[in-house]
């Protein structure tokens, strides 16, 4: 094969690949390629055959089946309820973490802390409750009250746990809201 023949062959190959991709639709080729197809018997033949092949496959795809769509739509509801329940687990877990953190900040030192509540934590806990409408005031007075009664390192750890829990509640609740909307009629 001389260089000119090789060039033609490679041009034919590229055009026939494109015809194959476009199901023989010559109109989807560029102007130079269309011109080539018109003057090249081999490429014209491929274009016609590809178009016929495309039609055969179009017919070979069975018509739409509405029973599949109905079946899927009916099955979505229980799946959504299950997803909602499963998705709530991290929200609940982070709520527990936040509550534990808040209890600790409320002034519960050492081990057996919860059993000592509210005896040891009245001061801090009531400061937190009283300051619900004023987060800054509640935090500062709660921390100040708790700091008077416990080790500062313990207080810091408790504060971190509480904040992590709150952040987790916000994060997971946002995600949960997104995947388990209530606005539907259920």
């Amino acid at each position: 094969m001389n260089p000119e023949e090789a060039h033609v062959a490679s041009e034919c190959l590229a055009i026939q690949e494109a015809l194959s991709e476009h199901r023989g639709e010559v109109a989807r080729l560029n102007a130079a390629e269309r011109e080539h197809v018109e003057s090249c018997p081999g490429c014209s033949e491929v274009a016609a055959a590809e178009m016929a092949l495309g039609l055969i496959f179009r017919e070979a795809v069975a018509p739409a089946d509405s029973s599949v769509v109905d079946g899927v739509m009916t099955a979505l509801r229980p799946v959504r309820i299950r997803r909602r329940v499963v998705a709530f687990v991290p929200v609940a877990a982070s709520m527990v973490i936040a509550v534990v953190g808040a209890l600790l900040v409320g002034g519960v030192p050492g081990s057996g802390v919860l059993s000592l509540f509210p005896t040891w934590s009245t001061q801090g806990w009531s400061a937190l409750l009283g300051g619900v409408s004023d987060v800054y005031g509640a935090s500062s007075s709660g921390v100040a009250a708790a700091a008077a009664a416990m080790n500062p390192a313990f207080l810091a750890v408790a504060g971190v746990i509480g904040l992590v829990g709150l952040a987790a509640v916000v994060g997971t609740a946002r995600r949960w809201r997104k995947i388990s909307p209530w606005r539907k009629s259920d």
């Binding site: 055969i56 795809v61 069975a62 899927v72 739509m73």
Partner: protein
């Protein structure tokens, strides 16, 4: 069907976003958009249109269940077809364990499994031209596996070359080349019908 302000159908990405916000109608649009092609693809994969309907239903339900894990960097179509493909392959493996296979001898003297399909389960059973349906069935069965899968994805699944490249994790050029070769085989084999 949810549409944009200019009455254009919403993109898959937008419909997925709406579905993630709990809009079941948006997901219904996706189901209607892909049901026909997904069932046709699975029908050819498992050789049984009834089973293909069940599997496509299952694929849509699984996709819905896992929608929040869908990575929007990829196309919904390729993700859905991957779920369906895995279901189909699992089904074939299970069926292979449960059934006794029949074999015929091919042109090279090798053994080829014969798939016996009842007409009502034939994925090409709706074609009026039975000769064409049988020929097409045989030719697709005889294709090399790497060509066969690409032909199923392209012509029954209706995926674009780009989507196939993504599905197969294959360069686009390779997909084009392989499909061109597969088409050459099909053009020769179906010459009487073209």
């Amino acid at each position: 069907m949810p549409v944009t302000g200019r009455n254009e159908p919403l993109s898959d990405e937008k419909l997925v976003e709406l579905a993630l916000d709990g809009d079941e109608d948006a997901y219904g649009t996706l189901v209607r958009r892909y049901q026909r092609r997904l069932t046709a693809f699975l029908g050819q994969l498992v050789g049984d249109i009834e089973l293909a309907r069940e599997l496509s239903q299952e694929a849509f339900i699984r996709a819905w269940s896992a929608l929040e894990r869908f990575n929007p960097r990829y196309r919904f179509s390729t993700w859905l077809f991957r779920i369906a493909h895995n279901l189909g392959i699992d089904q074939l493996r299970r069926r292979r364990l449960q059934t006794v296979s029949l074999y015929r001898t091919d042109a090279d003297g090798g053994e080829v499994e014969v798939v016996v399909t009842a007409l009502d389960k034939d994925p090409l059973g709706h074609l009026e031209n039975r000769a064409l349906a049988e020929e097409l069935h045989q030719i697709i069965d005889d294709l090399r596996p790497e060509y066969r899968e690409l032909i199923l994805l392209r012509h029954f699944g209706g995926l674009s070359y780009q989507e196939i490249a993504e599905f197969k994790d294959m360069p686009l050029g390779t997909v084009k080349n392989k499909l061109f070769r597969a088409h050459s085989v099909l053009r020769k084999a179906l010459a009487d019908f073209l």
